[in-house]
Symmetry: C2
Subunit: 254 residues, 2 copies
């Protein structure tokens, strides 16, 4: 966590023993299985993170995320908004990543209501795209923005249901975000309106993330937002009272 | 979420336009950039999930996860325990996945204390390894096991600090899990003991996950655990009272 140092060497940032061996070969040509030279582009060489980023269209990422929700729910939706856009724009190594593998983040991980699946999808996508320290800042900003903003904002070209109500969750947790919206809208978790709300919110998170990534690509991304452990001496959200009421425990200092 | 149907076609389960084109080529040989045939093993062909699984050693996965925590914290640690083991045992497509991209789950996502990073790492790893419906059951079981079990259990060959206290978190959330342990142990978040606790817990989660995956490989994995939305009409944990006290709201029914 914040304030702790990690010990990755450049060597370890490339994957596994095979990666190190291939990396050591250096130049642009590798030998294929039958001894013929093949270009680096075709060779199965693991590519260390961060992967190359090119600016993509936030609106298109939002559209993919919205449609993606109805195929694989929140985590898959947002990851696909970003990563499928990059598969199309950049190609490899994004094309080798099966975004369908990120579906299990749905509903705060298979319905447990923990982290909003959209933010789990973003955590993985940004982890491949952005350098570690910058990615941390981006996630910190996104968690705060998600908590503070009246969502959803996105209006799809082809809505599946009407969503008349927006709400600020004051939390990045699925259970809190969804339940507050359901209470405010008077709609059940199983309703078409709740599903549409989560699909639109997926588009919002994908679009916001792409806007941040595009800003970073243009050297315009800055963040001075502190991480929760730096402020509170433990991990957590900023609104301790919401769960603890007035009885917020003091973290152990020793 | 549970009870909803998703619309992936077999075609969409393979990644992107390039994947479909290459998949349509069928056989075992593809053409390299210079026109020489190269084997499928070397070609950059996306592989749909689930990826091939072979039984791996839980203890080795635990060792990798424990050591991994001190390099990249909880999410990376557990993902590497499983996925680096599979890189070594199976090779591709695992070798093309840079596990370092999963670091941002640390501390419940960059210190926000949401889902325990170990379970975020597992969500991604299981998502690549297990078929969707089975992966859901595995995650459901792991969330419950994590919440119920007095952790950590793992004892490393080379401890960095002593960990005399175990605790059951009754929650898969980082903030809840870590804070309860710190209170019980009388140790701060910044202490060497808390770090060692999280490193050992990473080993526990990796080992438990591998045992489940190995059981599944031998057709021994079964689960009849219901998902929270099926029980409560919304996403959430099973112990509503912990945050809500006696005032647990009723979910909207309409």
């Amino acid at each position: 966590m914040s304030g702790q140092r990690t010990g990755f060497s450049r060597r370890e940032m490339v994957l596994g023993a095979g990666a190190v061996a291939m990396g050591a070969m250096g130049g642009g040509l590798l030998m294929g299985a039958v001894g013929n030279p093949i270009s680096r582009a075709e060779a199965k060489e693991p590519q260390a993170v961060p992967w190359p980023y090119e600016k993509i269209d936030p609106k298109e990422a939002g559209r993919i995320a919205f449609e993606g929700w109805y195929k694989g729910f929140c985590s898959y939706a947002v990851a696909s908004g970003i990563l499928v856009s990059l598969q199309q724009k950049v190609g490899e190594p994004y094309r080798s990543l099966p975004v369908e593998g990120l579906r299990l983040g749905e509903g705060g991980i298979v319905g447990w209501g923990t982290i909003c699946g959209t933010l789990l999808g973003v955590t993985v996508a940004v982890g491949f795209v952005a350098p570690y320290e910058v990615g941390k800042q981006m996630l910190n900003e996104l968690m705060q923005w998600y908590s503070d903003t009246e969502l959803p904002l996105y209006v799809p070209a082809q809505p599946r249901a009407e969503v008349g109500v927006k709400n600020a969750s004051n939390s990045p947790l699925c259970h809190v975000s969804v339940s507050k919206w359901c209470q405010k809208a008077g709609k059940s978790f199983a309703s078409a309106e709740r599903k549409e709300r989560c699909a639109r919110l997926s588009a919002d998170v994908a679009m916001r993330t792409v806007m941040i990534l595009n800003d970073w690509k243009e050297n315009k991304f800055k963040s001075d937002l502190k991480y929760p452990p730096a402020l509170y001496g433990t991990t957590g959200q900023h609104n301790c009272y919401e769960c603890h009421g007035s009885k917020v425990p003091s973290p152990i200092k020793s």
